[in-house]
């Protein structure tokens, strides 16, 4: 069964504001056990979401929850087992070569690792120039001007074009990665943990840069992160993933102030706050037990859940992602 896409506002605005859209996305991996028995692991199951023009949708969750796989599916880097990805209404799976090239121009990716995501054998100018030439965006003198302009956009001087990646610090490399994504003039940027490898002081610089670029260029972001404080700073809407599924989604303010799903609540409660100990944070109402046993049926969170109303009913059937109020989705039968 396919749930409604997460993205409330789009429904009232028609589909005009929807840029990138996933519907019932699933990705299964087959692995073989020691005796040749095939085991199917669902990395992503039943994920539907919409990214609207100019907004930031954040996908939050812990390692292995499927958020990065979702990003790869949305980018067309691997095919979904089922479900569809649409860009401006066109199905990614049935795009022609030219349409796919156009899609690559419009949807770009920013990576986590500032070291592995730049080709060590190319200068920064060479990298940017290649993008411009492959997409025939600028040639001759115009190309050099455009490279300088792109570097300026991310706060780097023109002299950076002459240099190789290893001559830059982590934060500067992340800026170069952003400039490379911007070279094709995209309207959606999928950012997969773009600041989690950076030091706190550098992280702030990059987050501010992303905000400036959004304002200046009207970009939409799908921001994937595990750090809830970082997400708080950037997101308009947030979707929380657990075990391959979206368990809660809503606008950011609501989600942070009134989390509904027990997982979201324990996630928020677990974040250590950089505040004086005397300023007691909100009551940490829901704590979790240790590693849960794997369950075949029912709610995937059942083993770790500490919701007071949790009972056997939860372990019987998989809860659906339901819209409780406009734009507010929860996958839990007890809230």
């Amino acid at each position: 069964m396919i749930d409604e896409p997460v993205g409330g506002r789009a429904a009232s605005e028609g589909n005009g504001g929807v840029l990138l859209e996933a519907e019932g996305l699933a990705r299964h991996y087959a692995s073989r056990g020691p005796w040749g028995a095939e085991r199917i692991t669902a990395a992503v199951e039943d994920v539907s979401l919409r990214i609207l023009r100019g907004e930031t949708l954040a996908l939050v969750g812990e390692s292995g929850c499927g958020k990065s796989t979702t990003a790869r599916l949305l980018m067309g880097l691997e095919p979904p087992t089922s479900g569809t990805v649409r860009y401006r209404g066109r199905d990614l799976g049935s795009m022609s070569r030219t349409e796919l090239l156009e899609f690559r121009r419009r949807v770009q990716l920013v990576f986590q690792d500032p070291f592995g995501s730049l080709n060590p054998r190319m200068t920064v100018g060479g990298m940017l120039g290649e993008v411009l030439s492959v997409h025939a965006l600028a040639a001759g003198e115009e190309r050099g001007r455009r490279i300088t302009e792109l570097l300026g956009l991310v706060g780097l001087g023109p002299e950076a074009a002459e240099r190789y990646p290893h001559e830059f610090s982590g934060g500067q490399r992340q800026r170069i990665g952003i400039a490379r994504a911007l070279a094709v003039e995209p309207d959606v940027i999928v950012a997969d943990e773009p600041v989690s490898a950076l030091d706190v002081s550098i992280q702030a610089q990059v987050l501010n840069l992303l905000a400036d670029l959004q304002e200046r260029l009207g970009l939409s972001y799908l921001f994937i992160a595990h750090d809830l404080a970082v997400v708080r700073q950037v997101a308009d809407r947030v979707a929380v993933m657990y075990a391959g599924r979206i368990v809660e989604a809503s606008d950011a303010d609501t989600l942070y102030h009134q989390p509904l799903h027990p997982y979201t609540r324990s996630l928020l409660a677990a974040v250590p706050r950089p505040r004086p100990p005397s300023e007691k944070p909100r009551a940490t109402e829901l704590r979790e037990g240790a590693d849960p046993p794997k369950r075949a049926t029912g709610c995937a969170y059942f083993g770790r859940c500490r919701h007071p109303a949790r009972d056997e009913e939860c372990s019987l059937a998989l809860p659906l992602l339901e819209e409780r109020s406009p734009g507010r989705w929860v996958r839990c039968i007890k809230t």
Binding site: L109, S117, E130, E162, A183
Partner: protein
């Protein structure tokens, strides 16, 4: 035009290489050998193939007029060693060029495209590797008329397997790196990704393997020529010079010793440079 950054990186590599004293010694030897090979006509005191008065000049021990003595046909060993360097070195360089090109192409295609193509190519490599190289060489040469071109080609065609394995392994690693994903996301074609983004990042071990491989190839050429299957007399190659002197080894040690030493020093020189390059180009130190 060489960019400033590229020049800087080259200087850095050279600085590390030059601290490797043995590698510098090896490089100096190679320069010396290549130089003498190129200038052989000017440097050689005699025509290497000229047989003058055989009875009067054969089996002469090293002397002022013949620094390395003469062989049983009265030919000047020193001149022949100089001319032999041309043959041995050019066979070594050309054969390794063939091996590197072939090995890189096959390894890169297998690693980059993967799947069934990979399986087929790599089983092919296993097959070729399962024959002892020398036996393979002997069979191939025996099937055709021995000539310098044939020896070069055969040495090249039997020397690429190691390179293809190295390249395939490296490509498999590099293929998964994020800058390659970035290139895919930017809509770059597969050929461009392979040529511009993957290959330049696997060349370091190839350069090292090539340098080390030249030594091996020169040895193999010597072995073939020693067995009479390589470079044919009267053309001088170090291998057939050693072979021609083996009957008179106890009486006229110089006939085998000097070309033998030439082989030893050349192989050693290339190995030293290979080791130095490996240390200087080590990607762990470039960051």
């Amino acid at each position: 035009m060489l960019s400033r950054a590229r020049r800087e990186r080259g200087r850095e590599t050279w600085r590390r290489f030059s601290r490797h004293r043995q590698a510098i010694l090896g490089l100096a030897l190679i320069v010396l050998l290549t130089g003498t090979a190129l200038l052989a006509p000017a440097l050689a005191p005699y025509d290497p193939d000229a047989q003058t008065d055989i009875v009067a000049t054969r089996y002469q021990a090293p002397s002022v007029s013949h620094p390395m003595g003469t062989d049983r046909f009265g030919r000047d060993i020193f001149s022949r060693v100089l001319y032999g360097a041309r043959i041995s070195l050019s066979i070594g360089f050309l054969a390794i060029l063939i091996a590197i090109t072939l090995g890189t192409a096959i390894g890169a295609i297998a690693g980059f495209f993967g799947g069934r193509l990979d399986t087929v190519l790599m089983r092919g490599v296993d097959l070729v590797l399962s024959f002892p190289r020398l036996v393979l060489l002997v069979v191939l040469v025996a099937l055709f008329e021995p000539s310098i071109a044939l020896v070069t080609l055969v040495l090249g065609l039997t020397g690429w397997m190691g390179v293809s394995r190295i390249v395939r392994g490296q490509v498999l690693t590099v293929r998964e790196m994020e800058f390659v994903t970035a290139a895919r996301v930017l809509g770059f074609g597969r050929t461009r990704i392979l040529a511009r983004h993957v290959l330049p990042n696997v060349l370091t071990p190839v350069i090292v393997a090539a340098t080390l491989g030249i030594g091996n190839t020169i040895l193999a050429e010597a072995a073939l020529s020693f067995l009479g299957l390589g470079v044919q007399p009267p053309t001088a190659s170090w291998g057939n010079m050693v072979a021609s002197g083996r009957d008179a080894m106890l009486d006229a040690w110089w006939i085998t010793t000097f070309p033998g030493l030439a082989i030893v020093f050349t192989v050693m020189a290339f190995n030293l440079v290979g080791d130095g390059l490996r240390d200087a180009l080590d990607p762990r130190r470039v960051s």
